[in-house]
């Protein structure tokens, strides 16, 4: 019985210190030293918050670069998506993350890729099937991947140029500017942040 009360008292004190004091202290310190990151690295455009630089977004406008396939549609939605239909279901089910968890052998994966492939070839005339980088047509793990590979950005340049009227040379430059190399030249893979790239394009389209 003595052991039980010791266990209870120790549990409570650890609950307060590890579960309350520690995260609250970390929140306080982080808010002071790194207020931008601690708040979600929100980026603004024309003075208004338009997203987080770390989270991808769903882009449909052909004047913009498009990101990867997302199982949660990047938590991007329109107002009407939150209105319940007659079964009480909404098109947008609330904030989420993750992938559809399709196995490599799942026929649904083949179907999705083939459909996206056909659509991509149609909207990007001149592009050959074999040139399309795999990241563009595969679903990210988080459903919120903010990046595409530099190759995946380059292959979209002609189509973006046609729709936006911005020269391909200018777009090439923007893609290079937003291409981030490996950390210390070793870790991770080179990538392009789609939202940051599109914010520059929006600036040019003004």
């Amino acid at each position: 019985m003595k052991t039980f009360f010791r266990a209870l008292r120790l549990s409570l004190i650890l609950l307060v210190s590890c579960g309350l004091l520690y995260p609250l202290a970390m929140t306080g310190v982080s808010q002071v030293i790194f207020p931008r990151q601690a708040g979600g690295s929100i980026v603004g455009y024309q003075g208004k918050p338009v997203g987080s630089e770390l989270l991808g977004q769903k882009f449909t406008d052909m004047r913009f670069f498009h990101g990867r396939v997302s199982a949660v549609n990047y938590n991007t939605y329109a107002k009407e998506d939150t209105v319940p239909d007659k079964d009480g279901k909404t098109a947008y089910g609330g904030v989420a993350s993750g992938s559809a968890n399709l196995a490599p052998s799942n026929p649904a994966l083949m179907e999705r890729v083939q459909q996206d492939l056909a659509e991509f070839l149609q909207t990007h005339p001149g592009v050959k099937k074999a040139e399309i980088p795999a990241d563009l047509l595969t679903s990210s793990g988080s459903g919120l991947d903010p990046h595409i590979s530099p190759e995946a950005a380059r292959i979209q340049i002609p189509a973006v140029s046609r729709a936006s009227g911005i020269s391909t040379a200018k777009l090439e430059k923007l893609v290079s500017k937003h291409t981030k190399g490996r950390y210390l030249g070793i870790f991770g893979e080179p990538n392009v942040n789609v939202l940051k790239l599109n914010l520059e394009i929006a600036e040019l389209l003004k």
Binding site: L20, M26, T76, G98, L102, I132, Y183
Partner: protein, 559 residues
């Protein structure tokens, strides 16, 4: 750059082993460290408030203290989950957790498994993420580490007692987990992991649509999630989520955090035993098993998906389904191998979408469950196999086996047989039940052989207290919540109890002097035999399941 970044990561991890091992040894032994002036006061306060006397415990007292503390913590956390809608700090208006899910989640986190049948976005309020999840991430790690400390004391010790559980948990928390967690948290926030109590934010995008941005006290959870080899994510996307793992630097830090304590513990064992050669032999066996798994996973993923290649999508980037661009194949394969070796269970890519052989390496490491392992438990399992190896070799030459100068006899071998058999027993029996019942079959989301892999993966992960998943499995149902809960429970406590009983009976035995006939356990021969025993037992037990799941799927893909 694939192999340079993999080898650089493992190289840094190796450099940390010796200094960290020395420090762990000091903490476990109760010897002086430079932080004592401050930390002794904090510890003293904790002992005073909880009424802890620093008396030595024998193995039964130690186990009882461990079980009671874990029971109390489980109940506290269960209550928090059930009442989270009534408590403070719930800015996103999360509802109370349903009973079977709360049962599963409480067991999952107290056993250091962190299998998640919920997603943080809809399942937990900020207060639950803090006082339930973050709290248990510290204490379950400290519990496992304390058990390993007691095990080592018994192994090297001359006395019947194994230390004091309450003192061990306190010292490990204040001297190892808390300081490291604070440092790692701040680096994570610097790199972009949120740490705030503000509610989720909705923004209007430049295309005029809405986007919800999830927030919360994320960094303080993600740091201990890896240091404690817990693995449960703040968000559903776990360490693939850009808010949990935004950059290659955070990825590196998370991999190092997972490897740091399990690898260093082996070295600390050598220091306490006063026989570093013995520790390095065990270390080398673990490293060898890891070195077999890592390339298997990497090359399987690099080959890509032949079905997608056939339909015209180039696979030169490898199998990118379920992976993040910033990590690519190398960092994903490395993360997968390390997280299943160290029984962390966090993921930076979706394991369900791994190629069959990539998924198999993850599954295999959880099946053998001895490669470094989670907080202390992987080490204890490896020692159990070491004793078994000595026993088998003893049988071959017809001599009473000895390990570390102690005779291994019937009682120890019986207990070890139980501990070894529990693992495959709970995995295979519960998989069988799931496959025979409609409620179990209803969870399977991928057709064909992969469906079987999903079921086996779930229970293997639960039994190994890993926590990663083939997450397509629809596991938030009463059947899956309760069955996996029971498997996690038996996977954790039965082996801890059995192994502490083994060392307590070894501890009182008279040491046998080393002679010319002694079977050496600190040389490459022993390392080789040990690895072979692990692989043979693993293969004998699990081969039928592996053949019907991942191997059959592989053969259909590459037909």
């Amino acid at each position: 750059m694939d192999w340079p970044q993999i080898l650089a990561t493992l190289g840094i991890a190796m450099l940390l082993v010796i200094p960290t091992g020395k420090y762990i040894c000091r903490v476990i032994n109760g010897s002086k460290t430079c932080f004592d002036p401050v930390l002794d006061r904090i510890d003293g306060f904790i002992y005073k408030v909880s009424g802890i006397k620093q008396a030595e415990m024998d193995w039964k007292q130690y186990v009882i203290a461990l079980l009671l503390t874990n029971l109390v913590m489980t109940l506290l956390v269960y209550l928090v989950f059930r009442m989270q809608h009534l408590l403070f700090l719930n800015p996103n208006s999360i509802k109370a957790m349903e009973p079977s899910l709360a049962f599963n989640t409480a067991i999952s986190f107290i056993t250091n498994t962190n299998l998640q049948d919920y997603s943080g976005e809809w399942g937990l309020s900020y207060v639950s993420q803090m006082v339930a999840i973050t709290f248990l991430m510290f204490t379950s790690a400290a519990t496992g580490f304390a058990a390993a400390a007691a095990f080592i004391r018994g192994m090297v010790g001359k006395s019947k007692t194994l230390g004091n559980f309450f003192v061990d948990v306190t010292r490990l928390t204040t001297r190892i987990f808390m300081p490291l967690a604070i440092i790692v948290t701040l680096i994570l926030v610097w790199q972009g992991v949120p740490q705030t109590l503000a509610p989720n934010q909705t923004v209007t995008t430049i295309e005029g649509k809405l986007q919800d941005i999830p927030l919360g006290p994320v960094a303080s959870l993600v740091s201990i999630k890896h240091l404690g080899t817990n693995g449960g994510g703040f968000f559903g996307g776990n360490s693939a989520h850009p808010f949990e793992n935004p950059t290659p630097l955070t990825n590196l830090l998370q991999i190092l955090s997972m490897l740091l304590l399990p690898t260093s513990l082996v070295y600390a064992f050598g220091l306490m035993l006063n026989d570093k050669k013995q520790a390095w032999t065990i270390f080398a066996a673990m490293a060898l098993l890891l070195a077999m798994a890592l390339p298997a996973c990497y090359f399987a993923e690099k080959m890509g998906n032949p079905l997608l290649a056939k339909s015209g999508l180039s696979q030169t980037m490898g199998n990118m389904e379920g992976k993040e661009v910033r990590f690519g194949i190398a960092e994903s394969a490395l993360f997968t191998t390390v997280t299943t070796a160290c029984t962390t269970g966090s993921v930076n890519n979706m394991h369900d979408s791994l190629t069959p052989l990539g998924g198999l390496t993850a599954l295999w490491q959880m099946m053998i469950n001895v490669v470094f392992g989670g907080k202390g438990v992987g080490f204890m399992n490896m020692m159990m196999y070491a004793i078994l190896t000595v026993f088998l070799c003893g049988l071959m030459v017809g001599r009473t086996p000895e390990f570390l100068g102690k005779k291994i006899e019937g009682r120890e071998i019986k207990l070890i047989a139980i501990a070894i058999l529990v693992h495959p027993f709970v995995i295979l029996i519960s998989s069988m039940i799931a496959l025979l019942t409609p409620a179990g079959l209803a969870g399977i989301s991928n057709p064909g052989f992969h469906g079987l892999s999903q079921v086996i993966y779930q229970f293997t992960s639960a039994a190994a207290n890993n926590g990663s998943g083939f997450e397509g499995l629809a596991d938030n149902t009463a059947f899956w919540n309760i069955s996996a809960g029971l498997v996690m429970f038996s996977g954790r406590y039965i082996s801890i109890i059995a192994l502490l009983a083994v060392v307590s009976s070894l501890a009182v035995k008279k040491a046998v002097p080393v002679s010319i006939g002694t079977f050496r356990t600190d040389n490459p021969l022993f390392m080789g035999v040990l690895c072979a025993v692990v692989i043979i037992i693993g293969a004998l037990t699990f081969f039928p399941a592996i053949a019907l799941g991942p191997i059959a799927e592989h053969l259909t893909l590459w037909r």
